[in-house]
């Protein structure tokens, strides 16, 4: 789940138009870019899709951190392909946001200035090779939980981008789990590495779904608009129910002694993550916030001459073409 705590915007539109719009959504129709939509719907979607796109882009960094240290040629190729997919996801999502009237450059500037956020998870460091397994298994696993229902979201371009993204995400999750399997079946050192990665990524993964429903003030409007399809707690429960048996299969221990099957609710009980930590990370105080934004800022600043050069060449070509006509 790459969009967290997306604030819903209120709409001051004509109540009759709003009602007709809501009726279309309730009937399961897709809203397309050129059609009328409430300003609040448009703004909330820009924020959500933009945050999702930024997460894909910043999300390249923790995994890119291991491409040059991947242990085999095949692992290196798979990791490169995965990070490339993420850049591609960022691209579709920026394009989807553009259909709502905001440019990629504007969104990039909002990311760099801190006006827009990306998922808290990418502010955690990737310290060992096992983290490539944990990120694929847990982080992409959590992302899929949220994104599969978003294939049915009301905004057409977002729903269609999600269909494509989900196919690739499930490959990402499988490759992550496959890395974990190899480590879990490997030497004692490799197994310890896998356990350490699970220990560090467990709670940050649970945080990806955002705060508990009782503290989540923005859900109702977004759910009515089918921008958000499930509550944070529903998705978190689903994720835990899926992941605990996978950890058991690997022979690894989820770092929460409270994890226990609850027959009555038909799911696992588990401890809440430390929400104080979550809010600090969102505020910019996570272990890697500063480095992540510095890296994106540097790429943007160092690339300015490149972008300007291409624009200048294109302008020269146009002038030459006009002169020739």
């Amino acid at each position: 789940m790459y969009a967290q705590m997306v604030k819903s915007e209120a709409s001051n539109d004509d109540p009759a138009l709003l009602a007709a719009f809501q009726a279309r959504i309730d009937a399961g129709e897709k809203i397309e870019p050129k059609e009328w939509m409430p300003e609040g719907y448009r703004k909330t979607l820009i924020r959500q899709i933009g945050q999702h796109a930024h997460s894909e882009i910043v999300g390249q960094l923790p995994e890119g951190n291991w491409i040059t240290r991947a242990p085999t040629l095949e692992r290196k190729a798979i990791l490169l392909a995965k990070v490339q997919d993420e850049a591609g996801h960022g691209l579709y999502l920026y394009c989807a946001a553009e259909t709502l009237g905001v440019s990629r450059d504007e969104l990039t500037e909002a990311l760099l200035s801190g006006k827009m956020k990306y998922s808290s998870i990418f502010n955690y460091p990737t310290l060992t090779w096992a983290d490539m397994g944990a990120v694929g298994w847990l982080v992409d696993g959590a992302a899929i939980m949220n994104q599969v229902p978003l294939q049915r979201t009301s905004f057409g371009p977002y729903a269609r981008a999600m269909v494509r993204i989900c196919k690739e995400e499930s490959f990402h999750q499988r490759q992550g789990y496959d890395i974990m399997m190899k480590l879990a079946q490997g030497t004692p050192e490799q197994k310890a590495m896998a356990q350490d990665a699970l220990n560090r990524f467990w709670y940050p993964s649970l945080m990806m779904f955002g705060p508990s429903d009782k503290d989540s003030v923005h859900s109702a409007q977004s759910m009515a608009w089918k921008i958000k399809m499930n509550t944070n707690d529903e998705l978190r429960q689903k994720f835990v129910d899926q992941t605990v048996p996978q950890a058991e299969y690997l022979g690894l221990t989820v770092p929460d002694p409270a994890v226990k099957w609850n027959e009555e609710k038909g799911g696992y009980d588990f401890s809440e993550p430390d929400w104080a930590e979550f809010f600090e990370v969102i505020k910019g105080n996570g272990p890697c916030n500063a480095e992540r934004i510095e890296a994106r800022q540097k790429a943007w600043d160092d690339g300015a001459w490149f972008r300007d050069g291409l624009m200048a060449h294109a302008a020269k070509q146009r002038t030459a073409k006009v002169a020739a006509e």
Partner: protein, 256 residues
Amino acid sequence: MAVALDLDVALFEGLCRLGDSTLVLGHRVSEWCGHAPVLEEDIALANVALDLIGQTQLWLGLAAEVEGRGRDADRLAFRRDVWDFRNLLLVERPNGDFGHTLMRQFLFDAWHQPMLKALEDSHDPRIAAIAAKAGKEVAYHLERSADLVIRLGDGTAESHGRMQTALDRLWPYTGEMMMSDDTDRALAEAGIIPAPDSIRPQWDAVVAEVLAEATLKAPDQAYMHKGGKQGTHSEHLGHMLATMQWLQRAYPDSTW
């Protein structure tokens, strides 16, 4: 002295020269991941790196098979030291700015593409098959790198200056691609890998055409560095291997 044995030794060397060059360049390009000037370039660079790593698996896989000492492509990539690497010096040059990276890519692609084309006629069908597959990928690499060199050379004053600086700095590393030694001559005579200098006319033609359109000037300098193909490298390669081989060295003989 059995001729057949000598040829196998030469073939192992020749395949390492191809595979180590794609490995080292693929690694360098992959260092950009997440840091390119625009998203489209992040995607394109990852594509190029992926192609090169894929080609490495094929070249070094065949090298290991020819060698017949029980090693595989990973063993060659991750467990040899600097002096055993046979890549061209050009591809181990550090990335520098994005212009440097692109110019290095173009100067290599302009050699790589005709070399693979010629390798499709190798008497060794295994080599011809790899070259046919890699050739399709590399034709795209050359198209892309030549296009960007032209656009940036003939872009702004700054982009022009950066591309010219990159060209001046990298030029002395281009000669090695077209230099022959005894290994090259033995492989060329056997019809297995064409002589490096046979690629010269095509390389010269493509480079001259692209630089002219890019309004860039090839340096007059005639001196050319050499040694990579024989295992005498710059200081840069050791640092790359320290990163690339770290896991395999720290946890030897583990399965990943």
